[in-house]
Amino acid sequence: MYGGGYIFEESKNTESGTEDSVKLKNFEDRIAAGEKIEPADWMPAEYRKQLIRMIEQHAHSEIIGALPEGTWITRAPGFRRKLALMAKVQDEVGHAQLLYSAAETLGKPREDMINDLITGKSKYSNVFNYPAVTWADTAVIAWLIDAGAIINQVANSKGSYGPYCRALERICVEESFHLKYGHDNVVFLATGTPKQREMVQEALNRWWPPIMHFFGPSDKISVHTETLMRWKVKMASNDDMRQKFLDMYVPKIWELKLTIPDPKLKKNEETGKWDYTEPDWDEFKRVINGDGPCNKERLAVRRRAEEKGEWVRKALMRPDERYTVPLS
């Protein structure tokens, strides 16, 4: 699972006037030729910084994303769902592990990243600041949030940084199982008893706005990122990914006779694109800056887990061991 689309910091030196022009040209030529950049290769400082930021946010999203679904493991109805949900959430934690390792190759230790997460310095996907109110919410998350994640991650897996691309390829394979699990779960609810149907419709109503937020701010208002696109850090526009998601999943939602809570949602015959009510970007900003329904709870839980586990990590340390950056 992942989300957030692309939210980059505005940067004054993206064109890297301070970088060695020969090295920069060589770097850009390699990327244009489709080569991957590896940890020991030369790279512009701005490339390293933005990649760390992006991969770290992705990793945080995985461990924070484990929380809303994780709370339903103990309530999952029946062996089949309980086992599947446990395996799914376990996968998400495994993705965090892979991604922190990928980010570490760029020089930032896992401990520093987790510290930045729990002190609120570093962000994670906004969708996880919303609560999973009923069992049906977990079904909708597993289907549609993971579907969105796949669109985003498949695009990113064709990016330029080798370790991140390789981690994403593995992650996407697992995510495709999550999507199947989520879809199966939603199908059972949507075609089940009136109560089950009501649960899944209500969950869809709750999750539609966060799903529309998922791919990040509209291209009209997001930061310019031409350099990052040339460097294959950013691989698709937020609006294009949102359109792709609507193309793939709106018909599947309608097929189940569920109602999407947006009266303006329809395919525009002329443009071939989906028209929809513009998501509330003020709410998006408010939530990402800490004022969502679950921000405080999510970070508090993560902080408590870190504190409770500190003695274990300390006991594993050896005085003669030194931190080394993993190769890939």
Binding site: I63, A66, L67, G70, W72, I73, T74, R75, A76, P77, G78, F79, R81, K82, L83, M86, A87, V89, Q90, V93, G94, A96, Q97, Y100, W135, F188, L189, G192, T193, K195, Q196, V301, R304, A305, K308, G309, E310, W311, V312, R313, K314, A315, L316
Partner: protein, 256 residues
């Protein structure tokens, strides 16, 4: 082999005890998902919790073949007084030291139990037990590695692990609560009995802990956690079952 009605009911009693232990401990260990002390351990604990639930499901499946209800109804449809799990598995996850010590003491017994059951005269059980053994090898390897590391880590971790052992050990003895069905199970070659299992387990635990600085508490001074096998449980089981069946009970006849 043909079994008498009394033998069949002794076999069912044994399987209920084992399946309920697996279900409840698997459920408890799954509560660490997303909250483990390090990511790698989070993943490992979740994986072993899934194995436990898988074992519970397979054991309920044997009961189903013996004429009992289906696995979901058995796991999600019984009240606490019908459950046969021991007190040890019912306790909340507590600190990681407690969960890890419970994992160690329980899984060592589980591994020996299914080793013994691999030779059971009751074929459905011996086949299933042999399948479990491949997984349990990794559980005990995991438990032993961590017990040794944390017990020999630093002063704080050693004290924490010793405290966990002091709490867990008497509860762990409840795993081997003597049961009326034992004699019949021994006679019919189904299972060598809880007493024989406890002896093997004590030997193994002593051997592993002798490689650490941990001391097993004096058994004469302690109250053993018996009662679970007779349906008398701790205050922790009912809230666990209420939570576990919350969604299922919205409509137990619906397909989820």
């Amino acid at each position: 082999m043909n079994y008498s009605d009394a033998q069949i009911s002794a076999i069912k009693d044994l399987i209920f005890r084992m399946a309920d232990d697996q279900l409840i401990l698997g459920h408890r260990n799954s509560e660490w998902t997303g909250l483990g002390p390090i990511l790698e351990e989070d993943i490992a604990f979740s994986s072993m919790a899934q194995d436990k639930l898988g074992h519970a499901q397979a054991l309920y499946q044997i009961l189903h073949r013996m004429g009992e209800a289906d696995p979901d109804s058995l796991a999600f449809g019984r009240k606490e007084d019908k459950m046969r799990c021991c007190h040890f598995v019912e306790y909340p996850i507590g600190e990681y030291s407690f969960s890890l010590m419970r994992h160690f003491l329980f899984d060592e017994s589980e591994s020996l139990r299914f080793d013994m059951l691999g030779n059971s005269s009751f074929e459905d059980l011996s086949n299933t037990a042999r399948k479990f053994r491949g997984e349990l090898k990794y559980h005990t390897m995991h438990a032993e590695t961590w017990i040794k590391q944390l017990s020999n880590g630093n002063d704080e971790s050693r004290i924490r692990m010793q405290n966990a052992l002091n709490i867990c050990y008497p509860l762990a003895l409840g795993l081997f609560e003597p049961c009326e069905s034992d004699e019949m199970l021994i006679e019919s070659g189904v299972f060598p009995g809880e007493k024989a299992l406890q002896e093997k387990w004590s030997g193994k635990i002593n051997m592993i802990l002798s490689k650490t600085d941990l001391k097993i508490p004096d058994v004469n001074d302690i109250k053993i956690g018996y009662g679970g096998r007779k349906g008398i449980h701790t205050e922790y089981l009912k809230p666990l079952l209420d939570e576990m069946t919350e969604v299922y009970n919205i409509d137990p006849h619906a397909e989820w």
